[in-house]
Symmetry: C2
Subunit: 469 residues, 2 copies
């Protein structure tokens, strides 16, 4: 069995923590591992890491790789692919199939499991049992979706209605044909679903035999299927032309080979801060706080503090999320409206929607400390052995003051070492490079001066340090 974890999403339902520049799947919310790491970890109970593929996008490649590198279970052995552009789930899955066939070398009998990268499921052992049973059904030619037994009349999810029971399976668990996929219901309908006992939450996970999925793609989405004949590299090159289609719409809702495996298990898609509150440990007052937080007569509240001191008095059922540049204070039960807030902020072109003050890069990270008229101050950290690409800015000069470690600095054709408590000046329109040749992180303060200080005033030169970003 091969597993594909879809990790290209850039959701903002957990704004201000989750932003395009660092989305949900990379957040460490309920433990010291990220949701992505938990998703990979989950599979290690049954699969080898070599059998796990993670499909993300260019921008998140190095996040994914560093996340995997930091995993104890040899996560680095997993395969990391990226979509040149986001084209929805159907092309992503075809990309995975082609990679497995051409690069790994599998045949049509291979079973493939598809899952998101940002859900919480527990207990894991139970989940693995379900996975094994789904595999059996898939070997029998079914495309098996995982349906969660609903525990509340949730109006935020799509539901799967079960049909006849599948017979002749040597599975220890019951599996059913799918009668219908339903849209998000209203509360009354949702209640009926629960009472009826035939409807299950659509978890977005499914498994199938590669041969079967190929047949269905060929049958139902020929304009997508035509790209299958390309070699993997050509496929990547032409990826942008592939029609943007979700696998649900393209295949699941059309094929008659669709089945559902009901799972009676804890599942949470972390679709809002309300869901986050649900998975966090709470104290006797029902509070869940992290960071520099002090509460007084506060109950049933989640407070995710940052650097700043956060003091609350007499609050009940509130959600507070504090970041360097934005703070969200919401009533619990209303967190789904974060979506509306984010939409509004986008209309207002607020950079706080998409960018964090701290931006992670393959070479380390930087934080904007202050911006003003004609100046910007950044704190820059370079990982030992890493370097920024050779670059030039036309509209700004830069002062670097080293506060920790040793920098190897190239300015024009001069190379020099700059040590703690020393500074160096990079004039406008001058080629320069910053490297950390040492053994400890290099920390420096960059003071930019100029009439234009945006990130896009940069010319990168192709050299040994040239990177995707």
């Amino acid at each position: 069995m091969k597993a594909i974890i879809l990790a290209g999403g850039s959701g903002t339902r957990l704004w201000p923590l989750s932003r395009k520049s660092y989305p949900k799947q990379f957040l460490k919310l309920n433990s010291n591992t990220s949701l992505l790491q938990q998703s990979v970890d989950r599979l290690s109970g049954y699969l080898q890491m070599e059998d796990v593929l993670i499909i993300t996008n260019k921008e998140y490649m190095f996040y994914v790789k560093s996340e995997l590198k930091n995993m104890t279970e040899g996560g680095h052995k997993a395969h990391v692919l990226y979509e040149p552009t986001g084209r929805n789930t159907a092309p992503a899955i075809l990309l995975g199939i082609k990679y497995c066939e051409e690069i790994i070398g599998v045949n049509d009998d291979e079973i493939m499991f598809i899952c998101p990268s940002d859900h919480v499921i527990k207990p894991n052992g139970k989940f693995i049992d379900y996975l094994k049973n789904a595999e059996i059904a898939a070997k029998n030619g079914y495309i098996v979706t995982f349906g969660i037994t609903p525990v509340r009349p949730e109006t935020g999810y799509g539901y799967i209605e079960r049909g006849d029971k599948l017979n002749g399976l040597s599975a220890s668990m019951e599996c059913f044909l799918v009668r219908a996929f339903t849209e998000k219901p209203n509360t009354d309908t949702a209640k009926q679903y629960i009472d009826g006992g035939n409807h299950f939450w659509n978890s977005g996970m499914f498994t199938f035999q590669i041969g079967v999925m190929k047949e269905e793609l060929k049958k139902y989405v020929p304009n997508l299927w035509q790209y299958y004949d390309l070699k993997y590299n050509e496929f990547i090159e032409q990826f942008a032309q592939i029609p943007d289609k979700s696998i649900d719409y393209a295949v699941m809702e059309k094929t008659d080979k669709i089945a559902v495996l009901p799972m009676d298990i804890y599942w949470n898609d972390i679709g809002s801060w309300d869901s986050v509150y649900e998975i966090l440990e709470q104290d006797t007052d029902g509070n869940s706080t992290t960071g520099n937080v002090i509460t007084l007569e506060t109950k049933g509240s989640m407070i995710i503090g940052g650097k700043r001191l956060m003091a609350t008095i007499g609050l009940e059922d509130c959600l507070i999320v504090e970041t360097d540049d934005a703070i969200l204070v919401s009533k619990r039960g209303q967190a789904q409206k974060v979506k509306d807030m984010v939409t509004y902020l986008k209309e207002q072109n607020k950079k706080e929607v998409s960018e964090h003050t701290t931006m992670y890069k393959p070479w380390g990270h930087f934080t904007v400390l202050e911006e003003g008229n004609r100046f910007k101050i950044k704190q820059v950290v370079v990982i030992p052995g890493e370097a920024l690409s050779l670059q030039m800015h036309h509209h700004r000069s830069e002062h670097w003051i080293i506060v920790a470690g040793t920098a190897k600095v190239t300015i024009a054709d001069k190379e020099m070492f700059v040590h703690e408590n020393e500074s160096v000046y990079v004039p406008k329109s001058t080629k320069h490079r910053l490297e950390n040749p040492g053994k400890i992180p290099l920390a420096l303060i960059e003071v930019q001066n100029g009439e234009y200080l945006e990130e896009d005033d940069i010319i990168r030169y192709d050299d040994k340090y040239a990177r995707l970003i």
Copy 2:
């Protein structure tokens, strides 16, 4: 008539905005003028600025002076005195009396009006009428307190119970002898007070003839009075030895010359964020927001935002106050508990209780942008024509990068000019001075390096720029 405005308080009931380093009376809450400026302004309807004295403490001297300088009504003509140490109201008033007698030159017939620097009263014309009537009663030998007609059963104030009506006054308003000063009552008692109609809120304002107050001080607090015979300068020198006594306890509650002038007027002592909400203008949802704030389905809330984006969803009756280093989120009606919060934070030795990230100085101000292991980054702004005193640090070196204006820098015996986009290095244990010889504010970034980076690692040299602080 002379007026004394007491502006030495360092209250933290409006934390995190009000802190010891920049307390309530200097805050601009309900307009573009501070509470202190409004207190001075209030008197300009009746008094000349030359008749106004402001008593503060050393630390706040330059705040007071710059506040007065920024007033249109010639506030700079007011007298500014400071208590060498805080010794409560009785010594402060004696200080004011001595200053008026010795420096200004008044006699015992002079009427003196005492008021706090951080209250809101309106309308002003009506207040001035009351003040004039109080003056008449004072001329008749009474110490006249200003009692506010209570509009709610407030348990947070002390009350003044009126006695017999004062006769033989040519005052157009009724004035009464005081039967008793009462402590903060419980709700039932407070309700009885309102129904009875004989109790008034103690506004902390009063007026008297200097001769009368001197008599009463002599009579009731001889151990305070003995200092009266000192010359003003000696009085200042020995100020720390003067017994710490409130004028209420020392005189008001003992003398039989005490009267009360009931005032039917809007009065707010801004004793909590709840009171602040009351004086702010609210939109149709009952919200009052300032700063970078976006509200969604939020009602009856006060949101004082700072630099960062503050987003609220589904809140009702909340108070949010955001500063660079601390955020308060409280339910409305519970703001008096800020006191408990501050007490707790003090026990925890949190610097956010007493210090702001931005510290104002006679020469300008600085903001701590970031602190880390062995480094600290400050943004420094020097007012045109101003300078820091000649100084030296033993544990840190400093890099200065000029981002705006021109600096005159003295390092050891070298003098130099440093311009925008230039930098200069100040080694440890080296005398240095920073000046702004130019016409626009000098803005620079200071990066400190060293093993100890606290403010107290400073040696100041006595020179033309030496100051109180």
